[in-house]
Chain length 135, copies 2
Amino acid sequence: MRIGQLAQLVGVETQTIRFYEQQGLLPPPDRQDNGYRVYTEKHGEGLAFIRRCRILGLSLAEIHELQSYQDDPHQPCTAVNALLDDHISHVRSQITALQALEKQLVSLRASCNDDREVEACGVLAGISEGKMHQQ
Amino acid sequence: MRIGQLAQLVGVETQTIRFYEQQGLLPPPDRQDNGYRVYTEKHGEGLAFIRRCRILGLSLAEIHELQSYQDDPHQPCTAVNALLDDHISHVRSQITALQALEKQLVSLRASCNDDREVEACGVLAGISEGKMHQQ
DNA sequence: TTTAAACTATAAAGCTACTATAAGGTCAAT
DNA sequence: ATTGACCTTATAGTAGCTTTATAGTTTAAA
Ligand SMILES: [Zn+2]
Ligand SMILES: [Zn+2]
Ligand SMILES: [Zn+2]
Ligand SMILES: [Zn+2]
């Protein structure tokens, strides 16, 4: 299986596959005589794993860490669970921050209607005068 | 006022100020004979504006756009309000996406306890087997 | 058979919004 | 004279790719 087929199978671009290889997330495949990469099913599974991790918002470093745990399967999985817990709390704090941001933006938006000149725009005035709840 | 003082006043690093100048967000200040930048109060206000926009999550491009509106103050402020509306909906869709993500992560986490081996880890199994709600 | 499309390869740059580092010039005080 | 704090420019690094450039290979059509 060549890189293009693998890419289509998993739904990524070929460059992304090369990029993961370069980053040490995908093992370097064998090469044909012409230098073309040849992939196996294992590679397909590995790539799909990476993609699902990415969809879950895990960083490449976190994925790397998960892979290292997979490499000795008889360790307790505490670290895996902890990694996910950390990630969840990270996501939660992002949500909290964005919700606070949304509140600020909405109140800023409410300070203007559409029938003003830029000079008198409540939004611009609100930003300029620093009428923002700091944090 | 030199760059260090301005930086301390507004609470940014000097490099950030030079960076904004380079990006066309801050007008190039006059220079002393030795080449040092000299800033006025106007620059201070401009920089504070930029920083407050950044705190609101606006991109440099969006800030640039806002500045262009400020440059002719007798236009209607419709575009300003629209920019903010767009940004709000952007923030909201981020929140929605993160909440969906959190749900996925929590359910994934629930599929494991701390007393397993990596081999049997519910989290890793969940990712590997693609038991994820796509999207 | 020639040629063009589609594929592969590597290397390097671009994206965002900075931050950090390097190497050096300026200025006040000691 | 030298230290230290400040300033200058230029360059690289961060994350996770995407895009571009340049070139070699395979496959299919004309
Ligand atoms: Zn994380
Ligand atoms: Zn307005
Ligand atoms: Zn925005
Ligand atoms: Zn587990």
